[in-house]
């Protein structure tokens, strides 16, 4: 068994710099994902806005904001932080995910909740949906800031 001849001259490295795509804006970002996630939670769409995804930022802000405002208008229930009911805790988590809309909920909904009517019950769902939509936006912004998504 003889060894194969060794090539003394190493092969030239392939010129990959020409085949690589131009760096996209997402690869240039050096944002802290946690800070972006916090901003996205506080104001719906702010995380995407800071990541220069302005269309998505506007979409998330309109979606979460309008859901919350309609919910307040329908006099939905805003769950308090301390609840002995597990469903109340889940409701609080869903509501609190809407960020500034939850924090200003007591100001925007001066008349208080009225869940005796069907409209008030719908309002409760709208407010929770606003939080869930914003939660999805927070995760999306975090993923983009981490570089896992574009």
């Amino acid at each position: 068994m003889s060894d194969p001849p060794v090539n003394e001259t190493p092969a030239a490295p392939p010129e990959i710099h020409e085949s690589l795509p131009a760096p996209s804006p997402s690869t240039k970002r050096k944002s802290d994902p946690v800070s972006i996630a916090f901003a996205a939670w506080l104001v719906p769409g702010l995380g995407h806005f800071l990541l220069n995804c302005k269309g998505r930022a506007l979409g998330f802000f309109i979606a979460a904001g309008c859901l919350a405002l309609i919910g307040f208008h329908l006099r939905g229930n805003i769950f308090p932080p301390h609840s002995i009911d597990p469903f109340g805790t889940l409701g609080f988590l869903a509501d609190a995910a809407s960020g500034i809309f939850y924090l200003s909920g007591k100001i925007l909904e001066r008349a208080g909740p009225d869940v005796a009517r069907a409209a008030g019950d719908y309002g409760t769902r709208f407010i929770a949906a606003a939080g869930v939509v914003n939660l999805v936006a927070v995760f999306d912004a975090y993923e983009i800031a981490s570089g896992r998504r574009t």
């Binding site: 979409g59 979606a63 309008c66 409209a119």
Partner: protein, 74 residues
């Protein structure tokens, strides 16, 4: 995107002014469809198609579920 925002704003105003259950359902479908569309990574025409499909499916399933429950309402 601006057309979608205008549509959402118009539906929101109608829903808030009338407080009708139907318009509440329509506004919910429109707003959640916009949010879901923002998550997709597609081209603009595909996004519009996705949003319209999502919106129509929300409405169709909502109305269909309402009719299915109608015999048990009384």
């Amino acid at each position: 995107m601006s057309a979608a925002v205008s549509l959402a704003a118009a539906i929101t105003i109608i829903a808030a002014s009338t407080m009708s259950h139907f318009w509440a359902m329509v506004s919910f479908a429109a707003l959640v469809s916009i949010a879901l569309t923002c998550l997709t990574r597609r081209t603009a025409p595909e996004r519009i198609k996705y949003a319209v499909w999502s919106f129509l499916l929300f409405i169709l399933i909502g109305v269909g579920a309402a009719w299915l429950m109608y015999p048990f309402s009384r």
